[in-house]
Amino acid sequence: MHIPQNIEEKLWSYIDGSLEKKELDTVEELLRSNNEWKNKYAELMEVHQLMKNNMDLEHPSLRFTQNVMEEISRLYITPATRNYINKNVIWGIGIFFLTTIIGLLIYGFGQIDWSQTGGIDSPQLQEINNINWSRVFSGTYVNVFIMVNILLGLMLLDMYLTRKKNERIRERNA
């Protein structure tokens, strides 16, 4: 009996375990009752086992790993900052600057003579009032500026959330 090509494909699927239940039952029945099928199956199984147990891998040169590591040593991946920056130092620096700014503000306000009157008559204030701000910040400029900032903000937020998500997935799979 001639075994058509698609029967051979069915047998390969059977060997790979990718047949549906109904097809699986049919093939198993044929393998029990039909000698042609049995012989063909034995042939294919021989090739399958041969490939599974005897395929060798090629080896690159002995220096391969070293070459790759030398190549990547020239690159730079930003390591997670938590590994090399002490959070206490960051907090310390932050508190120092904040204290300095607050101190300067308190000192500055302390120097102001609140008894003197100011107001619109002050020449400096009048100069400021004379500036035509609408020429500098037209509605379009402001809108574009705000939009660009919003976009940048959203992009940064997206990058941050994606990185967090990837870290979580990796840690879960590890």
Partner: protein, 194 residues
């Protein structure tokens, strides 16, 4: 490094700054990557260049690896794209990877060889020689399936194909391999079986 340490654990540590641990991943997969690269190009020097490029690209993109697929599947998909780019750069006919030309190339490998002319001393050698007689496409599929232990779905992802297409192509590749073995190694199969 403990062999039981998973790829994902190593990746997490590399990304946290332990760059030297990447060498462990290179050692684990260098033979697979190199063998796959050899399925695209016959020259060992070219294959080694591709393999090195693959590991450098993988390192650069490591932060984008989400761990949704196996690291090996992700790495082999880089082998596929890098090899095709490499061949394009070398102005080789990459289209031939999917065309009838492949068969001509494969046939040319056989030219001048008569049946049972290939001498082999072991089953491993026989399998290696039989694979060399296949087209790059067939050899690639068989290597990914049998040696790199990738499922049909994973191979589909690596090669950017439908799973069913991969399934059919793999069936045909194995049938062609069987034919080559029958043509050139019938005696050897018999001898080595005993």
């Amino acid at each position: 490094m403990d062999a039981r340490t998973t790829d994902n654990e190593i990746i997490t540590r590399v990304l946290r700054g332990e760059h030297q641990l990447y060498a462990e991943l290179v050692k684990r997969y260098q033979n697979f990557v190199f063998t796959l690269a050899l399925r695209y190009t016959p020259g060992r020097e070219d294959a080694e260049e591709i393999a090195q490029d693959v590991f450098v690209k993988a390192y650069k993109a490591l932060k984008d690896f989400r761990g949704e697929s196996k690291f090996s599947t992700w790495l082999y998909s880089i082998v596929n794209s890098t090899s095709i780019t490499f061949l394009r750069k070398k102005k080789l006919d990459t289209h031939s990877l999917d065309s009838e030309h492949v068969m001509e190339v494969a046939d040319s490998k056989e030219s001048g060889m008569s049946a049972n002319q290939v001498e082999v001393k072991s089953k491993v050698e026989m399998v290696t020689k039989a694979i060399q007689l296949l087209s790059p496409d067939d050899a690639k599929l068989i290597t990914l399936f049998y040696k790199a232990e990738q499922s049909l779905e994973e191979i589909a992802k690596i090669l950017g194909m439908e799973t069913n297409t991969v399934k059919v192509k793999l069936h045909r590749a194995r049938t062609r391999l069987k034919e080559k073995m029958e043509k050139y190694f019938t005696q050897e199969v018999r001898d080595l079986s005993y």
